[in-house]
């Protein structure tokens, strides 16, 4: 379905390669070092500080974003369990993901977490530490379990991370997690690879001159990508214009009439289990008014997995994905 132009493809495979070699090469060297070398490590996120006295060997990740950061760092052998995946981890990490037990479809509850005897817990959202979920971070600390939250997940959906919603913050989080897991050099590899990917996109500008409507979900009222979230970062990376760039927040509800008035060239669709790209295309094509939009008539659709659209370690993949599809459309 998706075809990436040659320079982009080379770029993508190169970055994948660097990431892979970084992951595959590292462990043997580290095994030699003692588990407390470089520790204690302090991690502070969302105003909570945890201290790790040794390299975690039984960590738990909750939510897809946190789990994928761990998988990107190749620390699956240091995980005791995962929980609450939204859709599926990408193929490149599937084997690693399957090697770790899934504790729960959604948040594992406090007892399940304790029962897994973790030494470190890492969740994407602060809600991971609700009483109905893993239990509060203080409670976990009393049991000697360190914990951290994603820099993007401190509040509800709209709370902005300290460093702003940027790739820099994504990499800062990867740094932090890598430090906690005792594999700091792997974070550098990810950062370098993604920086190169983005530099390539910036040079090529596959989205130059294209007005994009980022359609996340919703039918009666569309939930759209606005000026301060993952969608905006992706569109900036490919050089496209977000028609709702001037609205604050990462995503928000917008009236359909504003979409029609904006008259976009291309519609980007997030493909999520609860709102698939196919459903959204069907809605656009069947609605008597929306079907008359220029982009709908021209089938100018770009689809990518929802998990590539939230600020996280896969956001750069999302940018490559969108860039490739935009290039194909404009040909």
């Amino acid at each position: 379905m998706m075809r990436i132009s040659r320079p982009l493809a080379t770029l993508a495979s190169f970055s994948l390669l660097t990431a892979l070699t970084a992951c595959a090469g590292a462990p043997s060297e580290e095994k030699a070092s003692s588990p407390t070398d470089g520790y204690p490590v302090e991690v502070t996120t969302c105003g909570f500080t945890s201290t790790l006295d040794a390299r975690p060997t039984r960590a738990i990740t909750m939510n897809q974003g946190a789990t994928e950061v761990a998988l990107a760092l190749g620390v699956e052998d240091q995980l005791a369990g995962t929980g609450y995946i939204d859709d599926a981890v990408p193929a490149k990490w599937k084997e690693a993901y399957d090697s770790v037990p899934v504790l729960s479809e959604q948040y594992p509850d406090h007892e399940t977490v304790i029962n897994a005897k973790p030494d470190f817990v890492y969740g994407s959202y602060i809600s991971a530490y609700d009483d109905e979920a893993a239990g509060s971070q203080e409670q976990l600390e009393k049991l000697g379990i360190a914990s951290m939250t994603s820099l993007f997940g401190c509040g509800d959906g709209d709370a902005k991370p300290e460093g702003g919603t940027t790739f820099e913050t994504v990499w800062d989080e990867v740094d932090l997690v890598a430090k906690a897991f005792g594999v700091p050099e792997r974070a550098d590899a990810i950062r370098t690879a993604q920086e190169e990917t983005l530099a390539g996109l910036k040079a090529e500008k596959p989205g130059a001159g294209i007005d994009v409507f980022w359609y996340d979900s919703g039918d009666r009222t569309p939930y759209v990508g606005t000026g301060e979230g993952g969608p905006q970062l992706i569109l900036d990376a490919v050089g496209a214009t977000n028609v709702f760039a001037d609205i604050p927040h990462g995503w928000t509800d917008v009236a359909w009439e504003k979409v029609i008035a904006a008259d976009p060239d291309v519609i980007v669709l997030a493909d999520a289990s609860w709102s698939t790209a196919k459903e959204k295309i069907a809605h656009l094509k069947n609605d008597p008014v929306l079907s008359k939009m220029r982009a709908v008539k021209a089938d100018a659709f770009v689809a990518l997995p929802f998990s590539e659209t939230t600020p996280g370690v896969r956001l750069a993949d999302g940018a490559v994905n969108v860039g490739g599809q935009l290039e194909k459309l404009s040909r």
Binding site: D219, R220, T221, V254, I260, A261, W274, P288, V289
Partner: protein
């Protein structure tokens, strides 16, 4: 006071009260028309009233030169929504009047018989569990699901409440509605919490509070047909409803076939509510409060109460919906929130005035 005397007294008041009702009615019709035009002009994309009128004129073949964009927004997006709101408000108010009289319960509202609960069961099954049939669109499925859910709840309530003799005592019907409503609510919460993704609770809550967002002509026309049919139908029952308002024995003494009438009206109003709820979700307050407000203004005679309640309900919902989609730029507020915020103070003022009389 005997029933006959009371009804004669009510008729005696007709001369002055009737005039008042007619002038009030004319005023309300005018207000409704103005509300529709103004409502269509308000929204995320600003459109002046003159353009609205021009679009309408052009659509009726009276000439005019409007841009395609204005036509799309005014005629295709906003007009069906505003008219749909008017139809929904009118029908909800009518159903409220009928049920309050039929059950002699001041707290009766259109969702009395577990209908919103049943519709929510259907809606949640579609929204959260993703139940779907063939190639139907998600929105169509949501409408169908809530309608079937509402019908299911209605059947369950009627089965529970009907006596051996086929009678349908109001108290038992209301209690059956409460019981079925609770079961439905339990299912809805269970499904939402257990298998909902992070977005599901938000969407279910939004559905529960009602919304006219995304209403297009096809649905709007259906709502208008429902409202018109309901209005015409209930007008045939005005004297029966007057009798019911005085009580069951009064009704039977006035030669009203109590059981038959009650069956027809209960199932009829439930079907109307089920169709409304399928398109708009449960919009509270209108069906409960509008009848009381109008009763305070023109008295209990259903000949006046029904049409005037329909008009007030229509106007209230047009403005509530306009507020719902324009108070926060680009973002929709659930219309149920607006009806409560708009309606409650008005109701409170009227109650106080009534008390001080």
């Amino acid at each position: 006071m005997s029933v006959a005397l009371a009804s004669r007294r009510a008729r005696g008041l007709d001369a002055t009260g009737g005039l008042r009702a007619v002038s009030l009615g004319a005023l309300l019709v005018g207000a409704l028309l103005v509300s529709v035009v103004m409502g269509v002009g308000i929204g995320s994309v600003p459109i002046p009233t003159s353009t609205v009128l021009e679009v309408i004129a052009q659509r009726f073949g009276l000439g005019g030169d409007v841009s395609l964009l204005d036509d799309q927004i005014v005629w295709q997006l906003r007009m069906p929504r505003v008219l749909g709101a008017a139809a929904t408000g009118a029908a909800l108010a009518l159903v409220g009047v009928v049920l309050q009289s039929l059950t002699r319960n001041d707290l009766a509202d259109p969702y009395l018989l577990g209908i919103s609960g049943g519709a929510a069961v259907g809606a949640v099954s579609v929204l959260v569990l993703g139940v779907s049939v063939g190639g139907l669109l998600a929105t169509t499925m949501l409408t169908l699901g809530s309608f079937l859910g509402a019908l299911g709840a209605l059947v369950a309530v009627l089965v529970l409440a009907t006596g051996r003799a086929g009678d349908l005592p109001p108290a038992r019907t209301v209690l059956a509605g409460v019981a079925i409503g609770q079961v439905c609510a339990a299912y809805t919460s269970f499904v939402t919490i257990m298998s909902g993704d992070q977005d599901a609770a938000r969407r279910v809550l939004a559905w529960t509070m009602g919304s006219l967002a995304g209403l297009r002509w096809d649905s709007a026309i259906l709502l208008i047909v429902v409202a018109v049919v309901a209005s015409v139908a209930v007008l045939a029952f005005t004297s029966d409803l007057d009798a019911f308002a005085f009580g069951e024995s009064a009704a039977s003494s006035l030669a009203v076939s109590v059981n038959r009438t009650r069956w027809i009206l209960l199932t009829g109003t439930a079907l109307v509510t089920a169709s409304l709820v399928a398109y708009t979700g449960a919009i509270g307050f209108v069906g409960l409060v509008v009848p009381h407000v109008v009763r305070l203004l023109v008295g209990p005679s259903h000949r006046r109460l029904l049409p005037l309640s329909a008009l007030v309900g229509a106007i209230l919902l047009v403005w509530a919906d306009t507020a719902a989609r324009s108070i926060i730029d680009g973002q929709e507020i659930p219309i149920g929130v607006v009806t409560a915020v708009l309606g409650a103070p008005v109701f409170a003022v009227l109650l106080r005035r009534e008390r001080s009389r």
